[in-house]
Amino acid sequence: MGVISAATSAQPWFVDVQVGDQIPTREFGPLTILETVRWAGFQENWARLHFDRDYVREHSGLRTFIASGAYRQALLLRVVTDWIGTRGWLRKVNVRQTSPTYEGDLMRFSGRIVEKSESPADPWLVCELQGENQDGQQIMTGRCTVTLPTRAAEPKG
C-alpha cells in the first residue's frame, strides 16, 4: 500500500526520551480506491464519499473520492503505536480533520514530544501530531498522551 518507511521501531524507554524528540515520520499512499474500499469493508461504512467518483462529483462537488477521516486517523495512530513499541500505551488522542485526502494524494504523518512527566511512577508523554499531503498542506492536527515503560514495566492486565 505504498508504505515507504520501516515497520515497528525498537522499544523506547521513558528515561531515554526528551521533550523535542521526534516521532519518526511515516508516509502512506498514494491513495487509491483499494485502500478506501478495504477500510470501508473493515468498518462496514458504505458512505459513497470514499469510493464513488461520480457520486462525489455530483453530490459533494469534490473532484474525486476522499479518504475516510477514520482511516487517516488509523494510519496516524499506527505511527504512534509503532513508535511507543509493544510496552507503550496510547492513553488519549485529540484529532482535528482539517483538509481532505483525495485519490492520488500522499499522507505524511509526524510528531514530537512536547511535554514529559517529571515522575517515572507515572511515565506519560504528550506529543503533538501532524498530517500533511505531498504539497506540505496540512490535513490533520492532533495531540496524544502515551505512556512509555520504565525499566520495570508493570503488566497491563
Binding site: 473493515f42 462496514e44 464519499l49 459533494s60 488519549k92 503488566p155
Partner: protein, 184 residues
C-alpha cells in the same frame, strides 16, 4: 451563533441534545477476521496485535486489538446485523438538503485493552449541536459522546466525536474546513 446559524438550529433540532441510545451490544465478539481486515486496511505489522508471546512479554494476558479497532466497529450495532434503534441519528430533523457528512475530529481516551472474544457494548449520547459558517456554507456540527464497555463492564474507550453535516453539493471547494476543522 449568527442569525443564520440560529435559524438552522431549530428548537426541534436543539432538543436532540442529550438524547442517547444504548447500551447496545455489538452483534459479534471481536474476531481474528476483524483484526486481519483492520491490519490489511492499515498495513499495520505490529506483532503486539497478533503474536501472543509478544503480548505476554509486554504484560498483556492476550493480544490486544489495535486502539482504533475498538470503536470503529460501532456501525455494526446500527445496520442490518445489529439493532436498528442503535442509530442515534435516525430521525434527526436536519434540513433535507444537509446530506453530506464529514468527520471533523474527535477526542478519545483508552482506559483498558480489548482482546479477541471480547463482546463490546456501546452507548451514545448527543452532546452538542451547533452551526458554523465555513467556505462550503453553513455546517451543522453534531458532537456525540460514546462509551464502549466489555462484557465484564470494564470501560475500554470513551470518545467525543464531531461530525459536520453540509448541504449537498456545497462542500465542493477544495480545502473546505481547513480553518474550521471540518472534513470527511
Amino acid at each position: 451563533m449568527t442569525a443564520e446559524a440560529s435559524t438552522i438550529i431549530t428548537p426541534e433540532l436543539q432538543a436532540w441534545v442529550g438524547s442517547s441510545v444504548g447500551p447496545i451490544q455489538l452483534p459479534e465478539s471481536l474476531t481474528p477476521a476483524d483484526v486481519r481486515r483492520y491490519l490489511d486496511a492499515t498495513g499495520d505489522t505490529n506483532p503486539l496485535w497478533t503474536d501472543e508471546s509478544v503480548a505476554r512479554e509486554a504484560g498483556y494476558a492476550a493480544c490486544p486489538v489495535p486502539p482504533m479497532l475498538v470503536f470503529e466497529l460501532y456501525r455494526r450495532a446500527e445496520g442490518a446485523t445489529g439493532a436498528g434503534d442503535a442509530n442515534l441519528w435516525k430521525g434527526m430533523p436536519l434540513p433535507t438538503n444537509y446530506t453530506d457528512t464529514r468527520n471533523a475530529g474527535n477526542k478519545i481516551e483508552w482506559l483498558a485493552p480489548a482482546s479477541l472474544d471480547d463482546r463490546l457494548e456501546v452507548r451514545h449520547q448527543l452532546a452538542d449541536i451547533t452551526a458554523r459558517q465555513g467556505r462550503a456554507g453553513l455546517g451543522i456540527y453534531i458532537t456525540r459522546e460514546s462509551e464502549f464497555r466489555k462484557q465484564d463492564g470494564i470501560v475500554v474507550v470513551r470518545l467525543r466525536a464531531t461530525t459536520v453535516k453540509l448541504p449537498a453539493n456545497k462542500s465542493a471547494k477544495d480545502g473546505e474546513g481547513r480553518s474550521r476543522g471540518a472534513d470527511h
